[in-house]
Symmetry: C2
Subunit: 339 residues, 2 copies
Amino acid sequence: MRKSPEITIHHLANELKISASTVSRALNDNIKISEKTRQLVRQKAIEMGYRPNVLAANLRSKKTNTIGVVVPRIDRYFFSSAISGIEDYAWTKGFNVIITQSNDLLLKEINCVQTLFNNRVDGMIISISMQTNEDKHLRLFSDKNIPIIFFDRFCPTIDCDRIVVDDFNTGHKITSHLIERGCKRIAHIAGPELLNIYRDRKDGYLKALKEAGIPVIEGYLEITGLTKEEGKLAFARLMSLPNPPDGVFCGNDTTALSALEYCQINNLKVPNDVALVGFSDEPFSAVVTPSLSTVKQPGYQMGFQAAQKIIYRIKNSNSIIPFEHFILPTQLIIRESSK
Amino acid sequence: MRKSPEITIHHLANELKISASTVSRALNDNIKISEKTRQLVRQKAIEMGYRPNVLAANLRSKKTNTIGVVVPRIDRYFFSSAISGIEDYAWTKGFNVIITQSNDLLLKEINCVQTLFNNRVDGMIISISMQTNEDKHLRLFSDKNIPIIFFDRFCPTIDCDRIVVDDFNTGHKITSHLIERGCKRIAHIAGPELLNIYRDRKDGYLKALKEAGIPVIEGYLEITGLTKEEGKLAFARLMSLPNPPDGVFCGNDTTALSALEYCQINNLKVPNDVALVGFSDEPFSAVVTPSLSTVKQPGYQMGFQAAQKIIYRIKNSNSIIPFEHFILPTQLIIRESSK
DNA sequence: GTGAAAGCGCTAACAA
DNA sequence: TTGTTAGCGCTTTCAC
């Protein structure tokens, strides 16, 4: 099984009795090449089964046409749809995408970022882990002016583009909705304080309560890792309080589902005994019974837009473009769990 | 904002008054280098902030330490969990992963495969699109002995490793289960005939019916693209037959959910009027009401194993390893929709 | 155990 | 419009 030798631009050049640079130019649609030569080269390339060696081109041009992505978990719908958006746009511009996942671990994230850096990606789109409380690894990029774009979860100490949703107002909106439907004792299962998104949601919750003149009851604010298990424990604690809540704003749909399951087991009626609202609009939220009120986050669109922005930056790396913080709208979806 | 110049092995070599090759060897843990030199080089590398240029190394060594992945859609749970498995294993072996999605379009798939090829990936893990009825693009890899591994959806004309589940027996198992629970008129919403997985599931269905002496009723076999919409239409057609089925084996969970929704709207009781079974165990299946009977496919494990196998092949590319067809077990999960 | 030299396949000054 | 030349940063023989 001997491997057929790789065809290079030199082989094409030899065959056509022209120089390698002319071949290179013709293949790259350089302006200053005659149409005739271009045709000739292209045809020969097909004829000989030429495949450009992207590696060599990248090494020389110091561009990889690749963007790196770091997400906490690929298999969460919000993130996979964001990746889908990134991929779809990058595709149209001839960019490759390298995906890595941090598993919500700082150490793994640092590792991911370093790998992307070593692979000389032209830019990085990242949503940070729940543990990320330092930014040294990110400075690897920002110090060298390699574009970073945060989406959803960001690191506030790094100055760069962000694409987020308005977590504060969304938290406010959710809480107000619970108040309007008549809830008097509203609890919140929050995520780690470390992340702005969770802090903002919590602050929105507190603000809405304050505006309505509802006091925050001791023990009504649970701070968790927002996993299924932690959600279940947190909700159980809430419902075991002497004066349990009649409405709970859960930090994500996963914990809202945990709550729902707890209610089923313990014969609590949703929303009559306790109303529930989640966050993210996971695919299951619309179809559970009772269906789950939640907030739609435009994952695909966030990814798509992040890709647009970063590729724009990469292609205009010599011009100074001020950093932007895009805030995309969310949509409160009221379903049975809080009707 | 001037960029700090990149540190190369030559810089390290100059500083240490040794040769670049020694630096290279020290960094790569070459056996024949003194421990002292190794330490010295490593320390200097850290001190000067040296980052290896993977591109250059790859160009020279003709290895990219990268595996390419093609899936129909990243945002489907089965595929994203498979990717997660690939990523996790590849990570432990220092391999990068480039993800592409075909959107179930043959043309896009061809494009993906070519891109991966041009990027000189060391191997490719692929689950083909619903439209894939040719293998020319795949021969790009197989002709050059670059490892391909199919998972789930494969192309039978390409001789290589496969990781699949036993769709035939699973289809048989599902149908038998419906028969055992008392269904007399069992229909099947199948996927495109082009793909083996759907053909096998269908054949398993037919076999089970035959064994039980149940005739296949005209119109009971629907062949669709297995989307939500097509599922709804197919199920509506089934239920509008003069003699509608009392059990339906749906080709995936998406169509089973469509069926469930149709039943809710049309006041049909599941499973009493019609029992339903899906395929894949999507996250929503356990939590819909009634909960959906389905088959668990080990997505993460399939990805993990595919990565193991392909990296093993890459690392042993000079030895001839016979191709294997791994058939992973599925698990029938009986829930309310077919109890 | 270390160094010298060659070159992976391509792009981009600079010349012509 | 095309050719010449010189690397990109690394690995890898082949010497010593």
